[in-house]
């Protein structure tokens, strides 16, 4: 126990030294409700980046694509491929949802790692990736839930609810539970990964300011991409699952 408390004390000391600000928010008051201003600001930047780059690249499409158009065509093909693999032949209407999910999470994650947010000082809290906040990830996860319910209900009508007793009625509780675990796991996976990644980088930078954090930063970039892909793929998989016929 002594060892444990000792290590906890040193840990606390490290946190004090590193000055990590996690869970601190810049609050804005909107109509009696509080919002996390830093999340909104960074999300606006992310949205501006996405819309701006897409507008510039797709403004005047050429038959033989140039650099920017080529890249965006590659991204679109990638998104279509993911959607088609998970949803099947009727993937068309879901490309915007899956694609925006992937692009928003991906650009958010990478913005946390690549954009020098720390230059801008906030009175409270600090700017970081929007996916660093549980509100964002839960919002995206809930939208995914709504999306797959919508997909199932429009495809099969009320017969969609037949899937809850599909293999046997005994599995009804577990099938209902799945509707809660899906958004929960989606949101917490993304939130935890991004928060942990940023924390590790910040703590390492505060301990060893040079060279050592670089591999961790690259690992963070890798993780960020993987997490965006996982989120989009799982969202597509859930939508596809609720649309496919149950035998």
């Amino acid at each position: 126990m002594n060892v444990l408390s000792c290590s906890i004390n040193t840990l606390k000391g490290l946190y004090d030294i590193s000055g990590v600000e996690v869970g601190q928010h810049l609050y804005w008051q909107i109509g009696g409700f509080q919002v996390h201003a830093q999340v909104l600001i960074t999300s606006w930047v992310v949205i501006a980046i996405l819309l701006g780059s897409a507008t510039i690249a797709v403004r005047n499409p050429q038959t033989i694509p140039t650099d920017g158009q080529n890249f965006f065509e590659y991204v679109l093909e990638f998104i279509r491929d993911v959607s088609k693999t998970q949803i099947g032949e009727e993937y068309g209407p879901w490309v915007p949802f899956i694609g925006t999910m992937f692009l928003f999470i991906f650009v958010s994650n990478w913005s946390g790692a690549l954009l020098p947010w720390k230059i801008i000082q906030l009175p409270h809290g600090e700017l970081a990736a929007p996916t660093n906040d549980i509100n964002t990830t839960v919002a995206l996860a809930l939208l995914t839930s709504v999306a797959y319910f919508y997909a199932g209900l429009t495809k099969k009508g009320l017969g969609y609810f037949g899937k809850y007793i599909q293999p046997t009625p005994i599995l009804l509780p577990i099938n209902i539970l799945e509707d809660f675990t899906k958004p929960l796991s989606l949101s917490f996976r993304l939130f935890g990964n991004i928060l942990a990644d940023e924390l590790v980088v910040v703590v390492l930078v505060s301990l060893v300011p040079s060279v050592v954090p670089i591999p961790v930063m690259f690992l963070g970039l890798f993780t960020s991409g993987i997490q965006a892909l996982i989120f989009a793929t799982l969202a597509a998989a859930y939508i596809g699952e609720s649309m496919e016929g149950h035998h």
Binding site: S5, L40, I47, L50, V58, F97, V138, A139, T181
Partner: protein, 222 residues
């Protein structure tokens, strides 16, 4: 935040170690806890459940899912500095922003570029299909080309032959001319030679008469 992580880890550690630790360990735990000097210890049970939820069973997940909706407001009030699970208006705003982004990107990116790519695909496929059908045409064109080549070869050989004939005739004519000229010159030269011969013989004749007179005068002394 540092407080909260440390605090949650401290409360987690006793709870996980209680099954394995002996009875003597428990009082120690209680002795240690006051040292932590955490003012809101009772409230920490909720984050504790939250931090455990990812690794425990589904039932715990369900409990945490329900407690998620209840816990954050109290946390936000009491831990103003460290609110990880602080749900508020940010959530619906982000959802609305996401929907806006989805429609905007659909308008300026997915639909236009997707249509453009599909059109191009269709065009390329059409062109490919039309190219595959032209093998007969290609054969015909090849035959035409061969015919053109044959005609050209025949023409060239004819032209060559004619040219050869013309040149030989020309050369022969020039040769004949040259021969005639040379013969005429030869004739002329021969005639000149003959004339000279006659001249010298005439001159010699007249000299012979004089010489013989001289010889006679000298031989027959007077």
């Amino acid at each position: 935040m540092a407080n909260m992580i440390v605090a949650s880890s401290k409360t987690v550690i006793p709870s996980t170690s209680t099954p394995t630790s002996t009875g003597a360990g428990k009082p120690k735990l209680h002795l240690n806890l006051p040292n932590l000097s955490l003012p809101k210890l009772p409230n920490l049970t909720k984050p504790q459940i939250l931090s455990l939820s990812s690794s425990t069973l589904k039932s715990l997940v369900a409990i945490s899912a329900t407690s998620l909706t209840l816990a954050p407001p109290s946390l936000a009030e009491e831990f103003e500095k460290a609110a990880l699970f602080d749900f508020n208006l940010t959530l619906p705003i982000i959802a609305a922003e996401f929907l806006f982004l989805m429609f905007a990107l659909d308008k300026i990116y997915y639909t236009p570029l997707g249509n453009f790519m599909d059109q191009r695909d269709a065009e390329i496929k059409e062109k490919l299909a039309s190219v595959k059908d032209t093998s007969a045409e290609v054969k015909q064109l090849e035959e035409q080309a061969a015919a053109v080549m044959r005609a050209a070869r025949a023409e060239i050989s004819a032209a060559l032959n004619q040219m050869k004939k013309e040149t030989t005739v020309e050369v022969e004519q020039k040769l004949a001319e040259g021969r005639k000229k040379i013969e005429a010159e030869l004739q002329e030269a021969l005639a000149k030679l003959e004339k000279q011969k006659e001249d010298t013989i005439k001159a010699l004749d007249s000299q012979i008469a004089a010489l013989s007179e001289d010889i006679v005068k000298k031989v027959l002394p007077l």
